[in-house]
Symmetry: C2
Subunit: 485 residues, 2 copies
């Protein structure tokens, strides 16, 4: 795949929207509106034989009529009209397209044949396309939002490649809620032209992309996927949720994007071989992606836990040990140093239970002492509340004072995370955090999560989530180390 075709797709300077509509309920309208609303800076050419103007834009009767060859065509015409449109695109010299229209291979029978015909026409004409049966592509750095929902994920370091439009939207929205942004989001649909591995290959060298999140139902070319993924993994992490693990799921995948799910055991082997980090759910996918953005990779499975809540410490130790971490025995000299910071009745073990009453600087000092233990490769800190510099924890009830209080808590959380991230950097060991926000409402917590992301930090909701992230980091580091030899 040549880079200029991907450039036409993700960094288009001009876009034709074939099947543009005035009807607010139709994709031909919504897609056009969101391209405009998203702030696309290039030229937009709506195409529809029966309209003159939509959303203030001049409408062209056909692709032939366009005043230039656009970089890219978005195709939302009904299924029977797609083959002819692709011919016209090729005739005009268009190099890249997005076929949103559904009703092809996923229906079997005739749909398979028409899809093959489209793919062959495009291939012969030197055109590549996303889809068919997809819901778009977001390229936030180019303010190029070809999509159905009315949100606009900001530019950032996370690429999303999903064989499902609603999963792509889910993931992009989660990224946004966590205060982060995306480099590129692709719903790859039936993959008649561009396959998942083509996007991976492009993203490997995309300077904006630092981690790749992917949702996969099946492979069109498993061999090439492995080959590409193995190379890309050496440059940046690929985290994948693979659906169709069960027969019921595989059947659903076949009727969804005409995917053949394949054996789940084999996919596990593929992941191991090609350095792919496999996530069990979309939540886990996001969690791991956010963690890999910021943290140094751990050299091994030795783990230190510092917790301001006893129960959470137990849950974290359980979750980590179950994943193969060694919750290391702290050396005597570390215990002695911790004795100076903590009350006489602290548990003298790992997890280090901070005991109620320990607060502020002593917490950061305790974390740093555990970080210095040579057998500790990574750390987890649980329950950030006592680490926050705030005047007190009694939340005011009066609305204006409460809002100010919420802002103070958020600022204190950011400050604590910057300190924690500083410790991680100093010792080149990851330090992941899971915490409740006990003194905040649901709305205040949503704001905290968002603001943290804007400061390139993440607070996991539960200890087992943080454990899964550390596990992914170790696996990825193992792959990189193995391949370096």
């Amino acid at each position: 795949m040549t880079a200029d075709k991907f450039s036409a797709l993700f960094n288009a300077r001009s876009v034709a929207l074939v099947g543009a509509s005035k009807d607010g309920r139709k994709w031909g309208f919504v897609t056009l509106k969101h391209l405009v609303d998203g702030g696309f800076g290039g030229r937009i050419y709506p195409v529809n034989p029966s309209e003159n103007e939509i959303l203030g834009l001049k409408v062209y009767k056909s692709i032939d009529d366009l005043p230039e060859t656009p970089d890219m065509a978005v195709i939302v015409v009904p299924p029977p009209a797609v083959p002819a449109v692709i011919k016209q695109c090729v005739g005009k010299g268009i190099k890249a397209g997005i076929i949103i229209t559904a009703g092809f291979a996923e229906l079997g029978g005739k749909g398979v044949r028409i899809q093959q015909e489209i793919a062959e026409t495009a291939r012969a004409g030197g055109m590549v396309f996303v889809g068919p049966n997809c819901n778009g592509v977001m390229s936030p750095w180019n303010k190029q939002y070809v999509q159905f929902p009315s949100f606009f994920v900001p530019p950032g370091p996370i690429a999303v490649v999903a064989q499902s439009g609603n999963v792509m939207d889910s993931l992009a929205r989660q990224v946004m809620m966590y205060g982060q942004g995306c480099s590129v989001c692709v719903a790859s649909g039936n993959e008649a032209s561009l396959h998942i591995e083509d996007y991976l290959e492009y993203l490997a060298d995309d300077p904006h992309t630092r981690v790749i999140l992917s949702y996969v139902e099946g492979f069109k070319d498993g061999g090439r996927f492995i080959e590409v993924a193995s190379k890309v993994s050496k440059k940046k992490p690929i985290i994948v949720v693979k659906a169709g693990k069960t027969q019921a799921g595989a059947r659903a995948a076949a009727s969804h994007t005409a995917s053949i799910a394949g054996s789940d055991v084999i996919f596990d082997a593929v992941c191991k071989q090609s350095g792919i980090i496999r996530a069990a759910s979309l939540d886990e996918l996001i969690n791991i992606g956010l963690g890999l953005l910021r943290q140094p990779l751990p050299k091994g499975r030795g783990l230190g836990i510092v917790t301001a809540g006893g129960g959470w410490g137990v849950l974290a130790a359980d979750a980590c040990a179950a994943l193969g971490f060694d919750v290391v025995k702290l050396p005597d000299d570390t215990i002695e140093e911790l004795d100076k910071l903590l009350p006489a009745w602290w548990n003298r073990g790992n997890p280090v239970d901070l005991v109620a009453g320990v607060a502020g600087d002593n917490i950061f000092k305790a974390i740093e002492l555990v970080m210095q233990v040579p057998s500790v490769d990574s750390m987890m800190f649980l329950s950030i509340m006592p680490a926050l510099k705030v005047r007190g924890f009694d939340a005011p009830q009066e609305p204006v004072a409460r809002e100010k209080w919420g802002e103070e808590i958020t600022a204190a959380v950011i400050e604590a995370f910057e300190r924690l991230n500083g410790i991680a950097d100093k010792y080149h060991k990851p330090l992941v955090v899971a915490s409740e926000h006990m003194w905040s409402t649901a709305v205040e917590q949503a704001k905290i999560g968002y603001t943290l992301g804007q400061h390139n930090a993440v607070c996991y909701h539960m200890p087992h989530e943080a454990a899964t992230v550390l596990d992914a980091m170790v696996k990825y580091n193992d792959y990189l180390r193995e391949k370096a030899h």
Copy 2:
């Protein structure tokens, strides 16, 4: 255990707070303040030999000086002073207490002996107590909040019994964020007097409690726990997270609440035998609890899925099949009826993929058609957006209009859930929902989740979460059916 002692504990008309303090950083102040702030309607007697007045309340020099025998004593004095305080309580005729103070059996050695002494004094004097080493008890129906954080979970149907104060707080706060309320929340601490099974026994007959969520690190009396839990499970569901599954977790549990975690395999058997629903994480605990509050129980493992997002349908089918659900083949006549509602290219399978463009009434009709299939015992509906009655999905950017839009979306979500819950009731089959809120911000989503709870509904975040809830429902129904014979 006699009911009047529990009544003294959870429905106190008068409370002594022994170890009350003026120092805002101390539990003796915070606990007192929260008892006041929570709106406790009974009499409060702070006890401290060196103070005269705290927070406007008259302070008593000793328990002996109190003008009446209070129903209950909250004890926050330092560890060495606790045995004498218990003696004074017994001398005054106090029947129930909460010992917040830590530093007993969880430290081993001398701590074990002092704890035994306290327990024996109380037992001989006819007094029961929560703790030691706990962070309180909330009894929202009595506005009796003996706790550290400054939030006040409203009264409701969910009981929380946790062998960890921070876990109790986490769970209570989650309940609150989901717009629900608690009947009673107990952090049971070291359980020197009252054991987890004592609380369960009380809650079985508590009219406010409809589900019981519990976090367990170990048992003081395993035999009695099984006996009690088996009986209570017949009346209301008990859902448990058991920590200390691994060696690292068990070690942490021992130093946390002096618990002996015991074999995890044995605990699985205990759950099966006594009808306990075991949850893998605190999130799952809450999810299952919320689901059991509202939904009819499923008669078997036949499952129907209706989805407005293809990828989510695949993920749901996978998650459910992996848990042993049969994603049933829909009968021909159901397919024919669905043909009348859905576009020609719908997948004609289960999950029923609604395909973009299907909206409003047709969605509810499709769900109802699947509900009517005899082999369908329960249903899952994914991605609620197209089921919402709203003017359109283009969110305004202007702040005031945006806020109004947020309220409209929330109202539409509530309306859709009331319709869905109506369908569940009509067919006596559970209908669980998982959805993104694609047209909402993180803050709007938090408000939606809260408002749903206030209408006794819950929207799960991810398909696999909804699958776990259905699985718990089937297991609980199996237990009830088995025990009915």
